[in-house]
């Protein structure tokens, strides 16, 4: 698989999401940031995204797909970094 295929599939399910992909061939990491995740637990978030790649995971075409799914609020809180205003 390539990065654009992955982004396209996730964007169809979460049109408002920021999607970023890293990896190659059969091993990828994806970052998905969307308001749709608010009130949804981590397992359900991962399930919804992994389900899009069920065939590739089952066949071994994708060996690893690591999913980070956050809301914009969690994303800004989680970094622990504060943008310094100059």
């Amino acid at each position: 698989m390539n990065e654009s295929e992955i982004i396209e599939r996730i964007s169809k399910l979460y049109p408002d999401a920021v999607v970023d992909v890293a990896g190659a061939d059969c091993s990828f990491e994806v970052y998905v940031i969307s308001d749709s995740f608010s009130g949804v637990n981590t397992l359900q978030r991962q399930k919804s995204i992994l389900a899009l790649f069920k065939n590739e995971i089952t066949s071994g075409k994708l060996h690893a797909l690591s999913v980070k799914a956050k809301t914009p609020q969690e994303q800004s809180a989680g970094s622990g970094l504060v943008q310094i205003q100059m």
Binding site: T42, Q46, L50, I57, T58, A64, L65
Partner: protein, 104 residues
């Protein structure tokens, strides 16, 4: 016994169980290694199934749990998640109380 029955029996008999690639002492995949190291760090007793040595289970479990990747960690028969979720719960202090409740 059907593979699904075997899985359900394993889940019923083991309050904490991980389905992983490899064994706790010799994991075959970085994700399985991470999840099992978290479980080890809790000091709670857990069961494991090496899915590489049980291809029927490797094939069937994703259907039963509705989760396509390995490792998969179950507490009291309920899927908790894979390596990222287990690590996140451990770091947030949520994993220990769940494991203690399940094994007490």
């Amino acid at each position: 016994m059907s593979t699904e029955d075997k899985i359900r029996k394993q889940l019923a008999e083991n309050p904490v169980i991980i389905y992983m690639k490899g064994t706790p002492d010799a994991p075959s995949c970085g994700f399985s290694a991470k999840a099992v190291s978290v479980l080890k760090a809790t000091g709670i007793e857990f069961a494991y199934v090496n899915v590489l040595a049980s291809p029927f289970i490797m094939e069937k479990l994703p259907e039963v749990s509705d989760f396509p990747t390995f490792p998969q960690v179950f507490i009291k028969g309920e899927i908790i998640g894979g390596s990222d979720i287990v690590e996140e719960m451990y770091n947030k202090g949520e994993l220990m109380p769940m494991l203690q409740a399940a094994t007490s």
